[in-house]
Amino acid sequence: MKKNMSFSVLAASVVLAMGANAAFAAKVPAGVQLAAKQELTRNNGSEPESLDPALAESVGANNIARDLFEALTAADNDGRIVPGLAESWKQTDPTTWVFTLRKNAKWSDGVQVTADDVVYGIRRFLDPKTASPYASTYGAFLLNGVEAAEGKKALTDIGIKAINKLTVEVKTPYPVAFLPEVMSNNQLGPAPRHAIEKHGKDWTKPGKLVGNGAFVLKDWAVNSKIVIEKNPQYWDAKAVVLSKVTYLPIEDGFADVKLYQSGENDWVYQLPPGTYEKYKAELPKDVRNSPMLGLRYYSLNAKDPVMKDKRVRQALSMVIDRDILAAKITADGQLPAYSVVVKGTAGADATTYDWAKWPMAQRVAEAKKLLAAAGLQAGSKIKFTYNTSEYHKKMAIFAASEWKTKLGLNTELENMEFKVLLKKRHDGEYQIARNGWVADYNDATTFLTLVQCGSDQNDNGNCNPKAEELIKQGNQAKDAAKRKQLLTQATKMIMDDYPIIPLLSYTTPRLVKPYVGGYTGKNSLDRYRNKDLYIIKH
């Protein structure tokens, strides 16, 4: 391992991975008595659109895919990257990585998982015929990945190669220091070619689905439940404690909580708005709330005649009291945010504004000056667009009230159905719009896509070429500290343009039964795999 020390982050992550590997089996703390029945029912928030890891897009579908399949690396419940299908990896040059697969990794039908399965899985994921919605997001980390997804290059040109039966080589288009993190996503994992070719598009159905994860698919009743059971063929089966997990697809928050209270559910996906304080008082041991890498923000349309003035954008952002918003309005433990990069994200620091620490009166006075300079009179009308939901509505009324009482601006609230909002936002037909983002991987670049020039995720229409240059330099940097410094600097530059109003960073306010062990609250992407969970005797 020592020879890789030149790439310091890397070495650190490899060492970490090795260390975690050693400590693997002992994840149930000493002294904890396990229940005789190791069965868990957890609500997953929605019906998965697919169990095919290449097609999984929603958080829910990816949760299940992580149990049924295992990528080269994996994230444990503390959020650390640990070995998955690959037992070790190393970076052989800035853009080349070599992953060594386990000899004892098998598909659930007993067939060995080989390097070819990984190559097949990744090529299949990026194949235009597969049309995976994540193709350009994760494909961007592989040499020629995006080009292949767009049909401009052959699948064989993608930077993935089987060196031998148990070794794959990954080539990246630029030095991607956090590649092991990216490779923990199942989209970039192996796929069971033999099963897919045998069953065709029905291959994800119970009885047909072949996976290499800790669990196998037992039953799938659409909109009702998905049952998975421990996979005896899994290489680390002896460390898997749960014997059966039932995923529920319940969207309605009230129904979710009531099923929890009546004992039919062990895991509330998300507490409905306005109930957090109540359950914190009633069920203090059950309420779990930990930070998550996600951002609630408002997009300001830089092409709008009013919003194109930076002073207006800054004034609007300055007067919103995030502390009151977090403490009183959403009141579910979410944290005030002042940057596009959420606090705790790797790869860049969350920036802040100087005025964030000012007293509100000073902020308002400054904001009024800015508005006056921009020529926007008190009594002017602005339009805020959001999609209907209790949560968004409360926040919108709060923001409108802040703008009205502090700046004298009259906000017209315009709510609409979700897809209509998406269309308006993507088409730039709005003035101020609700927006939100959950990190795909733990690195600042996932958030920076929201404000980068020409990015698909940039609904604001802003562009700061200087910051863009810094990000590019950062991504080319081989030194992690240097990269972090450049990306942070770029973030600061972009935020000083006020393309968005960052409001709150996500937490996961939910109920989990106290007897569910292994729920650490430390997985900042909220990806708790069932492999690490267990039921305590109760």
Partner: protein, 306 residues
């Protein structure tokens, strides 16, 4: 009458064609496509997806494509639930909705008619006020309020029944949804029955019968009930269509995997094929139920001929 029924069944085909065409155009005119999500998909990937689902073809070609597969009994692949065909989804959800909706319908027709009759015969008595109270509660407190209350009382406080979910047709999972649907429908059917019977009881021929000294029982059963049932049957038609093809709110409150859930998710996901498939199903059900209603008219009033 049978030839009339046969002609009516045949009418399903042009009705279907029209309704599919209208909904097809509406779906494509509705802003937001099936693959729009919070994470915007890059143009190239979007093109891949559209090609995969034939959305890259001109609209009329897609339409013909859909009709062709429909003729073969294939409702197509769901856009949202990539692993399932619309046929699979509908086949799973229909029996659940039909069982829960059908049972609730049967119960509410019986209870509604009985309560309505009692209330009408004792107009402005305590029984009447009670029935009106129930009826009004069922309307003033919509199912999205009553459903949660039922869950609170029976699943949380008393802990008699599950709070929701579906478990392979086990009866105790069906009790609360059926109760809720019945309650809501009884309020409508009961009130229509009450009003209709009062109306009939005030009519000349009943007064005549009363004057003749016929016993009340005979008057009601022999003479009043049949004409009073006419509007009730008319009302039951639409109720039957909506309960059997998926009671949206009930299914959401009790987390049931029925058709109502599919139609809401289908429409909000812009799952074109799923929505069209359900539209086809609902149209067929609507035509058949309304045919049944019309045949019932003829039974109740022999003078009605088609």
């Amino acid at each position: 009458m049978w030839s009339y029924a046969f002609r009516r069944v045949l009418m399903t085909i042009p009705t279907l064609l029209l309704v599919i065409t209208v909904c097809y155009l509406m779906l494509h005119a509705t802003p937001g496509g099936p693959f729009d999500s919070e994470r915007k998909i890059s143009a190239a990937v979007m093109a891949n997806l559209q090609a995969k689902y034939h959305l890259d073809l001109p609209l009329w070609q897609q339409y013909l494509y859909y009709l062709k597969s429909l003729l073969q009994g294939d409702l197509g692949a769901s856009f949202r639930y990539a692993d399932w065909s619309v046929n699979d989804l509908v086949a799973n959800a229909l029996p659940i909705s039909a069982l829960i909706g059908g049972t609730a319908l049967l119960l509410s027709v019986v209870i509604g008619i009985v309560l309505g009759t009692i209330a009408a015969l004792r107009q402005n008595s305590l029984v009447d006020y009670f029935v009106m109270l129930i009826g009004n509660l069922g309307s003033a407190f919509p199912s999205f309020v009553i459903g949660p209350v039922l869950i609170l009382v029976f699943a949380i406080w008393l802990a008699w029944l599950p709070a929701g979910g579906w478990n392979d047709y086990k009866i105790h999972y069906m009790v609360l949804p059926i109760a809720l649907l019945t309650f809501i429908n009884v309020s409508t059917i009961g009130r229509v029955m009450r009003g209709s019977l009062i109306e009939v009881m005030n009519s000349n021929f009943i007064r005549t019968a009363k004057a003749k000294g016929l016993p009340m029982r005979t008057i009601v059963m022999r003479h009043a009930l049949k004409p009073a049932l006419m509007p009730v049957i008319s009302v039951v038609g639409p109720i039957a269509i909506s309960t059997i093809t998926g009671a949206v709110v009930t299914e959401s409150v009790f987390s049931l995997p029925g058709l109502g859930k599919l139609i809401i998710n289908g429409a909000s996901n812009r799952d074109y094929t799923l929505v069209l498939g359900l539209v086809v199903l609902v149209t067929v059900v609507a035509v058949l139920i309304n045919l049944l209603v019309d045949l019932c008219y003829a039974l109740l009033d022999p003078k009605i001929r088609y």
